[in-house]
């Protein structure tokens, strides 16, 4: 963070922000606010969105569900398996992600990384039902903790996927 040319205002929240380089409230946003987010959404094998302007992005994080608008407080969120909804001028695009991270930057750039993501229409609902049953069976019958935990992860993902498909 460069402080060149910035006058030092003693004991105000703004000065504290400038000194620490950390912003606590959306009202202290200094970015040129066009009211839009710049979204980058990448998977290891493919870039889904690059520098796309969006109005809002809804996602499901471990700390809770959130909707991100321009000038959102900078944050890093771990994503749960769930739907990430990109709402732009052209409408909403939904992707189901297997997990990952969302990083909100002070300049209204939102980076979302996931390992796997598919549009809801690319998911086979019957396969979800069958795999959910199989994973539940494994979770109930597994002997060792790790396999049980792995099955529980799959159950959580398939349940979330089923409820997303049914909406």
């Amino acid at each position: 963070m460069s402080f060149v040319g910035r006058t030092f205002k003693p004991a105000t929240a703004l000065a504290r922000t400038a000194r620490l380089g950390m912003r606590l409230y959306a009202s202290e946003a200094t970015g040129a606010s066009s009211g839009k987010l710049t979204v980058n959404f990448a998977l290891p094998h493919m870039t889904v969105l690059k520098s796309q302007e969006m109005n809002q992005v809804d996602m499901s994080a471990v700390s809770g569900d959130l909707g991100v608008l321009a000038d959102h407080v900078p944050t890093i969120e771990q994503l749960k398996p769930g739907v990430v909804d990109f709402i732009g001028d052209a409408g909403s695009q939904k992707y189901f992600v297997s997990g990952g991270f969302a990083i909100m930057n002070p300049n209204s750039v939102l980076n979302i990384n996931a390992v796997e993501a598919f549009k809801l229409e690319d998911i086979d609902a019957q396969a979800v039902a069958a795999n959910l049953a199989e994973s539940q069976r494994l979770a109930a019958s597994a002997k060792d903790e790790v396999t049980k935990a792995a099955a529980a992860i799959e159950v959580e993902l398939y349940e979330s996927l089923q409820s997303a498909l049914s909406k």
Binding site: P81, S98, G99, V115, E116, I123, V146, A150, E154, L161
Partner: protein
């Protein structure tokens, strides 16, 4: 707040790959050939002793479905 998988002895990378595999399984069949290209990569490790290599064996992964033998 500890995750259940971490309490069971799993790390984040394993958790992440289990979730990714689970999601890939339920993608539509038209997409499966492309998906197959990015799956199936594993690591084999060989133990060396006295300058001689042992047999390379796959590093174990957490499996939740029976492995399909090709």
């Amino acid at each position: 707040m500890t995750f259940a998988w971490r309490a069971a002895g799993m790390n984040y990378l394993q958790y992440s790959s289990i979730a990714a595999r689970a999601l890939r399984r339920v993608a539509k069949s038209e997409l499966q050939p492309e998906i197959a290209k990015r799956q199936g990569m594993g690591i084999k490790a060989a133990k060396w002793e006295n300058g001689k290599s042992g047999l390379p064996t796959p590093v174990s992964t957490i499996e939740t479905r029976p492995r399909a033998e090709n």
